[in-house]
Amino acid sequence: MSPTARFARTRRFARRDDVRIVAGLAPLLLSVTALFGTAVGLAVLRSLGVGPFTASDDPTLAAYRRLLADPEFLSSVGLTTHVAATSTVLAAVLGTASALVLHRAVRARRSVTALFGLNLPIPHIIGAVAILALLGQSGLISRVATRAGLLEGPAAFPALVFDRWAVGIIVQYVWKELVFIGIVALAMLRSAGDDLDEAARTLGASGWQRLRHVTLPLILPGVLAAAVIAFAFSFGTFEVPLLLGGSYPAVLPVLAHRRFTDVDLAARPEAMAIGVVITVLVVLIVAVGAALARRAVRPDAT
Protein backbone atom coordinates (compact mmCIF):
# COMPACT_ATOMS: atom_id res chain seq x y z
CA MET A 1 0.00 0.00 0.00
CA SER A 2 1.38 3.42 -0.93
CA PRO A 3 1.93 5.94 1.86
CA THR A 4 -0.80 8.14 0.42
CA ALA A 5 -3.29 5.32 0.37
CA ARG A 6 -2.36 4.35 3.92
CA PHE A 7 -2.80 7.94 5.01
CA ALA A 8 -6.22 8.10 3.41
CA ARG A 9 -7.18 4.86 5.11
CA THR A 10 -6.03 6.11 8.50
CA ARG A 11 -8.02 9.28 8.02
CA ARG A 12 -11.08 7.31 7.09
CA PHE A 13 -10.71 5.19 10.22
CA ALA A 14 -10.14 8.27 12.34
CA ARG A 15 -13.27 9.88 10.98
CA ARG A 16 -15.28 6.73 11.59
CA ASP A 17 -13.90 6.73 15.12
CA ASP A 18 -14.97 10.33 15.70
CA VAL A 19 -18.43 9.41 14.47
CA ARG A 20 -18.55 6.56 16.98
CA ILE A 21 -17.53 8.86 19.83
CA VAL A 22 -20.15 11.42 18.91
CA ALA A 23 -22.84 8.78 18.36
CA GLY A 24 -22.10 7.20 21.73
CA LEU A 25 -22.21 10.45 23.65
CA ALA A 26 -24.87 12.40 21.81
CA PRO A 27 -28.05 10.76 23.17
CA LEU A 28 -26.83 11.14 26.75
CA LEU A 29 -25.49 14.66 26.44
CA LEU A 30 -28.52 15.88 24.51
CA SER A 31 -30.98 14.53 27.05
CA VAL A 32 -28.98 15.68 30.05
CA THR A 33 -28.47 19.17 28.69
CA ALA A 34 -32.08 19.34 27.51
CA LEU A 35 -33.40 18.55 31.00
CA PHE A 36 -30.75 19.96 33.32
CA GLY A 37 -29.85 22.89 31.07
CA THR A 38 -33.52 23.86 30.77
CA ALA A 39 -33.94 23.70 34.53
CA VAL A 40 -30.92 25.86 35.30
CA GLY A 41 -31.41 28.18 32.33
CA LEU A 42 -35.05 28.85 33.18
CA ALA A 43 -34.22 29.38 36.86
CA VAL A 44 -31.64 31.99 35.85
CA LEU A 45 -34.00 33.73 33.41
CA ARG A 46 -36.94 33.72 35.79
CA SER A 47 -34.79 34.95 38.67
CA LEU A 48 -34.13 37.95 36.40
CA GLY A 49 -37.84 38.36 35.81
CA VAL A 50 -37.70 37.33 32.14
CA GLY A 51 -38.12 34.15 30.15
CA PRO A 52 -40.47 32.41 27.77
CA PHE A 53 -43.33 32.23 30.27
CA THR A 54 -43.00 35.64 31.89
CA ALA A 55 -44.76 38.84 30.98
CA SER A 56 -41.78 41.16 31.33
CA ASP A 57 -38.97 41.50 28.80
CA ASP A 58 -36.55 43.59 30.84
CA PRO A 59 -34.11 41.60 32.92
CA THR A 60 -33.83 42.97 36.42
CA LEU A 61 -31.77 42.10 39.45
CA ALA A 62 -34.65 43.12 41.71
CA ALA A 63 -35.12 39.61 43.12
CA TYR A 64 -31.45 39.36 44.05
CA ARG A 65 -31.54 42.84 45.57
CA ARG A 66 -34.59 41.94 47.65
CA LEU A 67 -32.81 38.77 48.84
CA LEU A 68 -29.70 40.65 49.87
CA ALA A 69 -31.85 42.99 51.95
CA ASP A 70 -33.82 40.08 53.44
CA PRO A 71 -32.59 39.07 56.92
CA GLU A 72 -34.25 35.65 56.55
CA PHE A 73 -32.20 34.91 53.42
CA LEU A 74 -28.98 36.09 55.02
CA SER A 75 -29.43 33.98 58.15
CA SER A 76 -30.43 31.11 55.88
CA VAL A 77 -27.09 31.35 54.07
CA GLY A 78 -25.33 31.30 57.44
CA LEU A 79 -27.35 28.35 58.74
CA THR A 80 -26.90 26.33 55.55
CA THR A 81 -23.15 26.89 55.59
CA HIS A 82 -22.99 25.98 59.28
CA VAL A 83 -24.95 22.76 58.71
CA ALA A 84 -22.90 21.69 55.68
CA ALA A 85 -19.51 22.61 57.15
CA THR A 86 -20.11 21.13 60.60
CA SER A 87 -21.57 17.88 59.32
CA THR A 88 -18.84 17.47 56.69
CA VAL A 89 -15.99 17.98 59.18
CA LEU A 90 -17.58 15.61 61.70
CA ALA A 91 -18.33 13.02 59.02
CA ALA A 92 -14.77 13.22 57.67
CA VAL A 93 -13.20 12.77 61.10
CA LEU A 94 -15.57 10.01 62.21
CA GLY A 95 -15.50 8.33 58.80
CA THR A 96 -11.71 8.22 58.78
CA ALA A 97 -11.64 6.89 62.35
CA SER A 98 -14.23 4.25 61.43
CA ALA A 99 -12.17 3.18 58.43
CA LEU A 100 -9.09 2.76 60.62
CA VAL A 101 -11.06 0.61 63.07
CA LEU A 102 -12.64 -1.46 60.29
CA HIS A 103 -9.28 -1.94 58.62
CA ARG A 104 -7.87 -3.47 61.80
CA ALA A 105 -10.89 -5.72 62.30
CA VAL A 106 -9.56 -8.58 60.25
CA ARG A 107 -11.93 -11.22 61.58
CA ALA A 108 -15.35 -11.37 59.92
CA ARG A 109 -14.21 -8.49 57.74
CA ARG A 110 -16.91 -8.88 55.12
CA SER A 111 -19.81 -9.01 57.56
CA VAL A 112 -18.54 -6.06 59.59
CA THR A 113 -18.07 -3.96 56.46
CA ALA A 114 -21.52 -4.94 55.23
CA LEU A 115 -23.04 -3.92 58.57
CA PHE A 116 -21.16 -0.62 58.43
CA GLY A 117 -22.48 0.12 54.94
CA LEU A 118 -26.05 -0.78 55.72
CA ASN A 119 -27.40 2.78 55.85
CA LEU A 120 -26.01 3.71 52.42
CA PRO A 121 -29.10 2.65 50.43
CA ILE A 122 -31.44 4.23 52.99
CA PRO A 123 -33.17 7.28 51.48
CA HIS A 124 -32.58 10.56 53.33
CA ILE A 125 -36.24 10.89 54.21
CA ILE A 126 -36.13 7.63 56.20
CA GLY A 127 -32.97 8.78 57.96
CA ALA A 128 -34.74 12.00 58.90
CA VAL A 129 -37.77 10.13 60.29
CA ALA A 130 -35.45 7.83 62.24
CA ILE A 131 -33.42 10.70 63.70
CA LEU A 132 -36.68 12.36 64.74
CA ALA A 133 -37.71 9.18 66.56
CA LEU A 134 -34.27 9.03 68.18
CA LEU A 135 -33.51 12.64 69.11
CA GLY A 136 -36.95 14.27 69.32
CA GLN A 137 -38.22 15.46 72.69
CA SER A 138 -40.21 12.26 73.09
CA GLY A 139 -37.66 10.24 71.16
CA LEU A 140 -35.80 7.16 72.30
CA ILE A 141 -32.90 8.97 73.99
CA SER A 142 -35.28 11.21 75.92
CA ARG A 143 -37.22 8.10 77.01
CA VAL A 144 -34.11 6.30 78.18
CA ALA A 145 -32.94 9.41 80.04
CA THR A 146 -36.33 9.80 81.71
CA ARG A 147 -36.43 6.13 82.72
CA ALA A 148 -32.91 6.49 84.14
CA GLY A 149 -34.13 9.39 86.26
CA LEU A 150 -32.06 11.99 84.46
CA LEU A 151 -35.05 13.92 83.10
CA GLU A 152 -38.33 15.16 84.55
CA GLY A 153 -40.17 14.59 81.28
CA PRO A 154 -39.99 15.20 77.53
CA ALA A 155 -40.09 18.99 77.96
CA ALA A 156 -36.84 18.87 79.93
CA PHE A 157 -35.02 17.22 77.03
CA PRO A 158 -32.85 19.70 75.10
CA ALA A 159 -34.23 20.71 71.71
CA LEU A 160 -32.16 18.73 69.20
CA VAL A 161 -34.66 18.90 66.37
CA PHE A 162 -36.51 21.98 65.04
CA ASP A 163 -33.76 23.83 66.90
CA ARG A 164 -31.70 26.91 66.19
CA TRP A 165 -28.41 25.06 65.72
CA ALA A 166 -29.88 22.36 63.46
CA VAL A 167 -28.42 19.58 65.61
CA GLY A 168 -30.88 16.98 64.28
CA ILE A 169 -30.10 17.86 60.65
CA ILE A 170 -26.37 17.69 61.31
CA VAL A 171 -26.67 14.34 63.11
CA GLN A 172 -28.61 12.91 60.17
CA TYR A 173 -25.99 14.08 57.67
CA VAL A 174 -23.08 12.86 59.80
CA TRP A 175 -24.80 9.49 60.24
CA LYS A 176 -25.14 9.10 56.49
CA GLU A 177 -21.96 10.73 55.21
CA LEU A 178 -19.53 9.20 57.71
CA VAL A 179 -20.36 5.84 56.19
CA PHE A 180 -19.72 7.15 52.68
CA ILE A 181 -16.40 8.76 53.66
CA GLY A 182 -15.48 5.71 55.75
CA ILE A 183 -16.10 3.30 52.85
CA VAL A 184 -13.96 5.46 50.55
CA ALA A 185 -11.15 5.64 53.13
CA LEU A 186 -11.38 1.90 53.73
CA ALA A 187 -11.05 1.21 50.00
CA MET A 188 -7.93 3.41 49.94
CA LEU A 189 -6.47 1.60 52.97
CA ARG A 190 -7.09 -1.81 51.46
CA SER A 191 -5.67 -0.93 48.06
CA ALA A 192 -2.57 0.61 49.68
CA GLY A 193 -1.89 -2.53 51.69
CA ASP A 194 0.19 -2.67 54.84
CA ASP A 195 3.71 -2.68 53.42
CA LEU A 196 4.46 0.98 54.13
CA ASP A 197 3.08 0.67 57.63
CA GLU A 198 5.27 -2.38 58.21
CA ALA A 199 8.33 -0.60 56.84
CA ALA A 200 7.73 2.37 59.16
CA ARG A 201 7.29 -0.02 62.08
CA THR A 202 10.56 -1.76 61.26
CA LEU A 203 12.23 1.64 61.21
CA GLY A 204 10.97 2.22 64.71
CA ALA A 205 8.05 4.59 64.09
CA SER A 206 5.50 4.69 66.91
CA GLY A 207 1.83 4.00 66.30
CA TRP A 208 1.02 7.70 66.30
CA GLN A 209 3.90 8.51 63.94
CA ARG A 210 2.78 5.81 61.51
CA LEU A 211 -0.77 7.14 61.59
CA ARG A 212 0.30 10.75 61.13
CA HIS A 213 3.01 10.26 58.50
CA VAL A 214 2.07 7.05 56.70
CA THR A 215 -1.59 6.10 56.95
CA LEU A 216 -3.34 9.49 56.88
CA PRO A 217 -1.38 10.84 53.88
CA LEU A 218 -2.31 7.62 52.03
CA ILE A 219 -6.05 8.03 52.51
CA LEU A 220 -6.20 11.83 52.42
CA PRO A 221 -6.98 12.14 48.68
CA GLY A 222 -10.00 9.87 48.95
CA VAL A 223 -11.24 11.41 52.18
CA LEU A 224 -11.00 14.95 50.82
CA ALA A 225 -12.72 14.07 47.55
CA ALA A 226 -15.52 12.31 49.42
CA ALA A 227 -15.80 15.21 51.86
CA VAL A 228 -16.28 17.67 49.00
CA ILE A 229 -19.16 15.56 47.67
CA ALA A 230 -20.60 15.20 51.18
CA PHE A 231 -20.46 18.98 51.59
CA ALA A 232 -22.32 19.55 48.34
CA PHE A 233 -25.01 17.05 49.35
CA SER A 234 -25.49 18.40 52.86
CA PHE A 235 -25.68 21.91 51.40
CA GLY A 236 -28.50 21.03 49.07
CA THR A 237 -30.61 18.27 50.58
CA PHE A 238 -34.21 19.34 50.97
CA GLU A 239 -36.25 16.72 52.79
CA VAL A 240 -34.00 16.37 55.85
CA PRO A 241 -34.19 20.01 56.98
CA LEU A 242 -37.84 20.09 55.89
CA LEU A 243 -38.57 17.41 58.47
CA LEU A 244 -35.97 18.17 61.14
CA GLY A 245 -35.38 21.90 60.80
CA GLY A 246 -36.82 24.87 62.63
CA SER A 247 -39.06 27.31 60.79
CA TYR A 248 -36.80 30.38 61.13
CA PRO A 249 -34.28 30.50 59.72
CA ALA A 250 -34.71 27.59 57.33
CA VAL A 251 -31.85 26.29 55.19
CA LEU A 252 -31.64 27.56 51.60
CA PRO A 253 -33.32 24.58 49.86
CA VAL A 254 -36.31 24.82 52.20
CA LEU A 255 -36.46 28.60 51.83
CA ALA A 256 -36.38 28.25 48.03
CA HIS A 257 -39.29 25.81 48.09
CA ARG A 258 -41.21 27.98 50.53
CA ARG A 259 -40.91 31.03 48.26
CA PHE A 260 -41.73 28.82 45.27
CA THR A 261 -45.02 27.69 46.81
CA ASP A 262 -45.85 31.14 48.20
CA VAL A 263 -49.38 32.22 47.24
CA ASP A 264 -47.85 35.58 46.35
CA LEU A 265 -46.54 34.97 42.83
CA ALA A 266 -44.15 37.90 43.27
CA ALA A 267 -42.06 35.58 45.46
CA ARG A 268 -41.37 33.25 42.49
CA PRO A 269 -38.39 35.21 41.12
CA GLU A 270 -36.93 35.12 44.62
CA ALA A 271 -37.39 31.34 44.73
CA MET A 272 -35.59 31.10 41.40
CA ALA A 273 -32.85 33.42 42.63
CA ILE A 274 -32.33 31.23 45.72
CA GLY A 275 -32.17 28.19 43.44
CA VAL A 276 -29.52 29.94 41.34
CA VAL A 277 -27.60 30.94 44.46
CA ILE A 278 -27.64 27.31 45.73
CA THR A 279 -26.50 26.03 42.33
CA VAL A 280 -23.68 28.56 42.01
CA LEU A 281 -22.51 28.01 45.58
CA VAL A 282 -22.46 24.22 45.23
CA VAL A 283 -20.56 24.37 41.95
CA LEU A 284 -18.08 26.87 43.42
CA ILE A 285 -17.61 24.82 46.57
CA VAL A 286 -16.98 21.64 44.60
CA ALA A 287 -14.58 23.36 42.20
CA VAL A 288 -12.63 25.08 44.96
CA GLY A 289 -12.79 21.98 47.17
CA ALA A 290 -11.49 19.74 44.40
CA ALA A 291 -8.67 22.18 43.67
CA LEU A 292 -7.76 22.42 47.36
CA ALA A 293 -7.91 18.64 47.70
CA ARG A 294 -5.50 18.25 44.77
CA ARG A 295 -3.18 20.78 46.37
CA ALA A 296 -3.31 19.13 49.77
CA VAL A 297 -2.46 15.80 48.20
CA ARG A 298 0.66 17.22 46.54
CA PRO A 299 2.17 19.58 49.09
CA ASP A 300 5.18 20.11 46.81
CA ALA A 301 2.90 21.88 44.34
CA THR A 302 2.30 24.82 46.64
Partner: protein, 295 residues
Protein backbone atom coordinates in the same frame (compact mmCIF):
# COMPACT_ATOMS: atom_id res chain seq x y z
CA UNK B 1 -7.42 11.70 17.56
CA UNK B 2 -5.87 9.74 14.72
CA UNK B 3 -5.23 6.31 16.19
CA UNK B 4 -8.33 4.25 15.56
CA UNK B 5 -9.92 2.83 18.69
CA UNK B 6 -7.02 3.91 20.90
CA UNK B 7 -7.95 2.54 24.28
CA UNK B 8 -7.11 4.64 27.29
CA UNK B 9 -6.10 1.43 28.93
CA UNK B 10 -3.32 1.82 31.51
CA UNK B 11 -3.86 5.51 32.18
CA UNK B 12 -7.59 5.14 32.66
CA UNK B 13 -7.19 2.13 34.88
CA UNK B 14 -4.56 3.64 37.13
CA UNK B 15 -7.13 5.61 39.10
CA UNK B 16 -9.57 2.81 39.72
CA UNK B 17 -9.42 0.97 43.04
CA UNK B 18 -7.80 -2.40 43.20
CA UNK B 19 -9.96 -5.45 43.58
CA UNK B 20 -9.82 -7.02 47.02
CA UNK B 21 -6.19 -7.85 47.66
CA UNK B 22 -4.81 -11.02 49.17
CA UNK B 23 -6.00 -11.78 52.70
CA UNK B 24 -4.13 -9.75 55.27
CA UNK B 25 -2.24 -11.97 57.70
CA UNK B 26 -3.16 -11.49 61.34
CA UNK B 27 -0.26 -10.04 63.29
CA UNK B 28 0.12 -9.51 67.01
CA UNK B 29 -1.30 -6.18 68.09
CA UNK B 30 -3.29 -5.86 64.91
CA UNK B 31 -6.46 -7.59 63.88
CA UNK B 32 -7.05 -8.87 67.37
CA UNK B 33 -10.48 -9.42 68.84
CA UNK B 34 -10.41 -5.93 70.36
CA UNK B 35 -10.51 -4.24 66.99
CA UNK B 36 -13.12 -6.66 65.69
CA UNK B 37 -15.33 -5.96 68.69
CA UNK B 38 -14.87 -2.22 68.19
CA UNK B 39 -15.85 -2.60 64.54
CA UNK B 40 -19.00 -4.54 65.44
CA UNK B 41 -19.87 -1.91 68.06
CA UNK B 42 -19.44 0.80 65.45
CA UNK B 43 -21.69 -0.99 63.00
CA UNK B 44 -24.29 -1.54 65.73
CA UNK B 45 -24.14 2.13 66.76
CA UNK B 46 -25.00 3.13 63.20
CA UNK B 47 -28.15 1.02 63.46
CA UNK B 48 -29.28 2.96 66.54
CA UNK B 49 -31.63 5.32 64.65
CA UNK B 50 -33.59 2.30 63.41
CA UNK B 51 -34.25 1.02 66.93
CA UNK B 52 -37.05 3.48 67.77
CA UNK B 53 -38.61 2.83 64.35
CA UNK B 54 -38.73 -0.91 64.91
CA UNK B 55 -40.05 -0.49 68.47
CA UNK B 56 -42.69 2.06 67.50
CA UNK B 57 -43.88 -0.01 64.55
CA UNK B 58 -44.90 -2.93 66.80
CA UNK B 59 -46.19 -0.86 69.73
CA UNK B 60 -49.74 -0.14 70.75
CA UNK B 61 -49.70 3.43 72.08
CA UNK B 62 -45.96 4.05 72.23
CA UNK B 63 -45.96 6.99 74.64
CA UNK B 64 -43.12 8.71 76.47
CA UNK B 65 -41.34 7.38 78.55
CA UNK B 66 -41.84 3.81 77.31
CA UNK B 67 -38.61 2.43 75.94
CA UNK B 68 -39.75 -1.08 75.19
CA UNK B 69 -43.41 -0.97 74.19
CA UNK B 70 -45.75 -1.83 77.08
CA UNK B 71 -48.27 -3.40 74.74
CA UNK B 72 -47.30 -5.00 71.47
CA UNK B 73 -49.59 -4.63 68.49
CA UNK B 74 -49.49 -5.32 64.79
CA UNK B 75 -51.98 -2.51 64.16
CA UNK B 76 -49.52 -0.30 62.27
CA UNK B 77 -48.18 -3.17 60.19
CA UNK B 78 -51.64 -4.44 59.35
CA UNK B 79 -52.60 -0.93 58.21
CA UNK B 80 -49.47 -0.61 56.10
CA UNK B 81 -49.65 -4.14 54.69
CA UNK B 82 -53.44 -4.28 54.24
CA UNK B 83 -54.39 -5.25 50.69
CA UNK B 84 -55.17 -2.11 48.70
CA UNK B 85 -53.45 0.16 51.23
CA UNK B 86 -51.77 3.41 50.26
CA UNK B 87 -48.38 1.83 50.89
CA UNK B 88 -48.87 -0.90 48.29
CA UNK B 89 -50.04 1.67 45.76
CA UNK B 90 -47.02 3.84 46.59
CA UNK B 91 -44.72 0.82 46.34
CA UNK B 92 -46.13 0.07 42.89
CA UNK B 93 -45.61 3.64 41.70
CA UNK B 94 -42.14 3.82 43.21
CA UNK B 95 -41.08 0.59 41.49
CA UNK B 96 -42.68 1.59 38.19
CA UNK B 97 -40.94 4.98 38.17
CA UNK B 98 -37.60 3.57 39.33
CA UNK B 99 -37.63 0.74 36.75
CA UNK B 100 -38.42 3.15 33.92
CA UNK B 101 -35.72 5.54 35.13
CA UNK B 102 -33.23 2.67 35.30
CA UNK B 103 -34.02 1.35 31.82
CA UNK B 104 -33.90 4.75 30.13
CA UNK B 105 -30.75 5.66 32.06
CA UNK B 106 -29.01 2.48 30.91
CA UNK B 107 -30.05 3.01 27.27
CA UNK B 108 -28.59 6.51 27.31
CA UNK B 109 -25.65 5.89 29.61
CA UNK B 110 -24.12 2.61 28.47
CA UNK B 111 -23.06 3.73 24.95
CA UNK B 112 -21.72 6.95 26.44
CA UNK B 113 -20.02 5.03 29.23
CA UNK B 114 -18.27 2.87 26.67
CA UNK B 115 -16.95 5.93 24.84
CA UNK B 116 -15.91 7.66 28.07
CA UNK B 117 -14.28 4.56 29.47
CA UNK B 118 -12.39 3.30 26.43
CA UNK B 119 -11.64 6.30 24.20
CA UNK B 120 -9.41 9.30 24.57
CA UNK B 121 -10.70 12.39 22.85
CA UNK B 122 -10.60 16.11 23.21
CA UNK B 123 -13.27 17.43 25.55
CA UNK B 124 -13.57 14.28 27.64
CA UNK B 125 -12.97 16.23 30.84
CA UNK B 126 -15.67 18.70 29.81
CA UNK B 127 -18.13 15.86 29.23
CA UNK B 128 -17.38 14.49 32.69
CA UNK B 129 -17.98 17.89 34.26
CA UNK B 130 -21.27 18.24 32.37
CA UNK B 131 -22.27 14.85 33.80
CA UNK B 132 -21.18 15.70 37.33
CA UNK B 133 -23.24 18.88 37.52
CA UNK B 134 -26.70 17.27 37.59
CA UNK B 135 -25.45 14.81 40.22
CA UNK B 136 -24.17 17.56 42.50
CA UNK B 137 -26.57 20.45 41.98
CA UNK B 138 -29.37 20.22 44.56
CA UNK B 139 -32.50 18.64 43.17
CA UNK B 140 -34.78 21.29 44.65
CA UNK B 141 -33.08 23.95 42.48
CA UNK B 142 -33.55 21.72 39.42
CA UNK B 143 -37.16 21.00 40.35
CA UNK B 144 -38.34 24.57 40.76
CA UNK B 145 -36.42 25.59 37.63
CA UNK B 146 -37.97 23.03 35.31
CA UNK B 147 -41.46 23.01 36.83
CA UNK B 148 -42.88 25.67 34.52
CA UNK B 149 -41.94 23.70 31.39
CA UNK B 150 -43.59 20.57 32.69
CA UNK B 151 -46.63 22.64 33.57
CA UNK B 152 -46.84 23.96 30.00
CA UNK B 153 -46.33 20.51 28.52
CA UNK B 154 -48.93 18.99 30.82
CA UNK B 155 -46.29 16.74 32.36
CA UNK B 156 -46.80 17.94 35.93
CA UNK B 157 -48.77 15.73 38.26
CA UNK B 158 -48.10 12.58 36.22
CA UNK B 159 -45.73 9.66 36.35
CA UNK B 160 -44.19 10.51 32.96
CA UNK B 161 -43.06 13.85 34.27
CA UNK B 162 -41.71 12.30 37.44
CA UNK B 163 -39.73 9.72 35.43
CA UNK B 164 -38.32 12.52 33.25
CA UNK B 165 -37.09 14.59 36.20
CA UNK B 166 -35.68 11.56 38.00
CA UNK B 167 -33.54 11.03 34.91
CA UNK B 168 -31.72 14.31 35.68
CA UNK B 169 -29.78 12.98 38.68
CA UNK B 170 -29.92 9.28 37.73
CA UNK B 171 -28.72 9.17 34.12
CA UNK B 172 -25.43 11.09 34.48
CA UNK B 173 -24.69 9.05 37.59
CA UNK B 174 -25.25 5.77 35.77
CA UNK B 175 -23.13 7.08 32.89
CA UNK B 176 -20.20 7.96 35.16
CA UNK B 177 -20.41 4.52 36.79
CA UNK B 178 -20.60 2.82 33.37
CA UNK B 179 -17.53 4.76 32.25
CA UNK B 180 -15.69 3.26 35.22
CA UNK B 181 -16.88 -0.21 34.23
CA UNK B 182 -15.70 0.18 30.63
CA UNK B 183 -12.38 1.66 31.76
CA UNK B 184 -11.72 -1.72 33.37
CA UNK B 185 -12.68 -3.59 30.20
CA UNK B 186 -9.73 -5.02 28.32
CA UNK B 187 -10.62 -4.06 24.75
CA UNK B 188 -7.74 -6.27 23.56
CA UNK B 189 -9.95 -9.27 24.29
CA UNK B 190 -12.49 -7.92 21.83
CA UNK B 191 -9.94 -7.46 19.07
CA UNK B 192 -8.58 -10.94 19.74
CA UNK B 193 -12.06 -12.39 19.34
CA UNK B 194 -12.50 -10.37 16.15
CA UNK B 195 -9.19 -11.54 14.73
CA UNK B 196 -10.26 -15.12 15.47
CA UNK B 197 -13.21 -14.50 13.19
CA UNK B 198 -16.01 -13.61 15.56
CA UNK B 199 -18.75 -11.35 14.17
CA UNK B 200 -19.51 -8.10 16.01
CA UNK B 201 -22.60 -9.56 17.66
CA UNK B 202 -20.66 -12.64 18.74
CA UNK B 203 -18.00 -10.39 20.29
CA UNK B 204 -20.70 -8.36 22.00
CA UNK B 205 -22.53 -11.41 23.34
CA UNK B 206 -19.66 -13.74 24.21
CA UNK B 207 -16.86 -11.33 25.16
CA UNK B 208 -18.05 -7.83 26.06
CA UNK B 209 -21.30 -8.61 27.85
CA UNK B 210 -19.89 -11.14 30.33
CA UNK B 211 -17.07 -8.73 31.17
CA UNK B 212 -19.15 -5.64 31.78
CA UNK B 213 -22.45 -7.13 32.96
CA UNK B 214 -21.64 -7.22 36.70
CA UNK B 215 -20.45 -3.62 36.72
CA UNK B 216 -23.41 -2.45 34.68
CA UNK B 217 -25.73 -4.24 37.09
CA UNK B 218 -24.24 -2.18 39.90
CA UNK B 219 -24.77 0.96 37.84
CA UNK B 220 -28.38 -0.06 37.18
CA UNK B 221 -28.99 -0.85 40.84
CA UNK B 222 -27.69 2.55 41.88
CA UNK B 223 -29.76 4.32 39.25
CA UNK B 224 -32.76 2.47 40.65
CA UNK B 225 -31.91 3.56 44.20
CA UNK B 226 -31.44 7.20 43.17
CA UNK B 227 -35.02 7.18 41.93
CA UNK B 228 -36.22 5.07 44.89
CA UNK B 229 -35.29 7.73 47.45
CA UNK B 230 -36.12 10.83 45.44
CA UNK B 231 -38.28 13.32 47.32
CA UNK B 232 -37.85 16.92 46.13
CA UNK B 233 -38.24 16.21 42.40
CA UNK B 234 -41.27 14.00 42.94
CA UNK B 235 -42.89 16.53 45.27
CA UNK B 236 -42.52 19.51 42.91
CA UNK B 237 -43.21 17.77 39.59
CA UNK B 238 -45.62 15.15 40.90
CA UNK B 239 -47.51 17.92 42.67
CA UNK B 240 -48.97 15.53 45.24
CA UNK B 241 -50.61 13.46 42.48
CA UNK B 242 -47.80 10.95 42.17
CA UNK B 243 -47.49 9.35 45.59
CA UNK B 244 -44.25 7.41 45.74
CA UNK B 245 -43.00 5.95 49.01
CA UNK B 246 -40.93 9.03 50.03
CA UNK B 247 -44.00 11.24 49.51
CA UNK B 248 -46.20 8.84 51.46
CA UNK B 249 -43.63 8.64 54.26
CA UNK B 250 -43.42 12.42 54.58
CA UNK B 251 -47.19 12.65 54.74
CA UNK B 252 -47.23 9.96 57.45
CA UNK B 253 -44.50 11.76 59.39
CA UNK B 254 -46.53 14.97 59.30
CA UNK B 255 -49.60 13.03 60.37
CA UNK B 256 -48.61 12.16 63.91
CA UNK B 257 -49.23 8.41 64.16
CA UNK B 258 -45.72 7.38 65.13
CA UNK B 259 -46.38 3.64 64.75
CA UNK B 260 -47.71 3.99 61.20
CA UNK B 261 -44.88 6.40 60.29
CA UNK B 262 -42.32 3.94 61.61
CA UNK B 263 -43.87 0.99 59.76
CA UNK B 264 -44.04 3.05 56.56
CA UNK B 265 -40.39 4.06 56.93
CA UNK B 266 -39.32 0.42 57.34
CA UNK B 267 -41.57 -0.60 54.44
CA UNK B 268 -39.75 1.96 52.29
CA UNK B 269 -36.26 1.19 53.55
CA UNK B 270 -36.16 -2.59 53.73
CA UNK B 271 -36.42 -3.24 49.96
CA UNK B 272 -33.49 -0.88 49.37
CA UNK B 273 -31.36 -2.65 51.98
CA UNK B 274 -32.38 -6.07 50.66
CA UNK B 275 -31.44 -5.03 47.14
CA UNK B 276 -28.02 -3.85 48.27
CA UNK B 277 -27.37 -6.98 50.34
CA UNK B 278 -28.26 -9.24 47.42
CA UNK B 279 -26.16 -7.11 45.07
CA UNK B 280 -23.15 -7.19 47.39
CA UNK B 281 -23.47 -10.98 47.66
CA UNK B 282 -23.32 -11.24 43.90
CA UNK B 283 -21.01 -8.38 43.05
CA UNK B 284 -18.75 -7.74 46.04
CA UNK B 285 -18.04 -4.39 47.63
CA UNK B 286 -18.47 -2.28 44.49
CA UNK B 287 -22.09 -1.22 45.13
CA UNK B 288 -21.21 0.10 48.57
CA UNK B 289 -18.43 2.26 47.27
CA UNK B 290 -20.42 3.86 44.50
CA UNK B 291 -23.59 4.19 46.53
CA UNK B 292 -22.13 6.77 48.85
CA UNK B 293 -22.03 9.21 46.03
CA UNK B 294 -25.80 9.38 45.81
CA UNK B 295 -27.95 11.92 47.48
Amino acid sequence: MTAPAAPAAPAARAGTPHPAGPPIPVRPGRGGWGWTLAAWALGAALLLPFVPLVLASVADGYFHPQVLPERLSLRAWSLVLAPGSASWAALGDTILVAVLVTVVSLLLAVPAGRVLGTRRFRGRRAVEVVLLLPVLVPTIAVAIGIHVVFLRLGLDGGRTGVVLVHLIPATPYVALLSAGVFANLDVELESQARSLGARWWQVLWHVTTPLVAPGLMVAALLGFLVSWGQYALTLVIGGGQVVTLPILLFAAASGGDLSVTAATALFHGLPAVALLVVASRVLGAAPNLALGATR
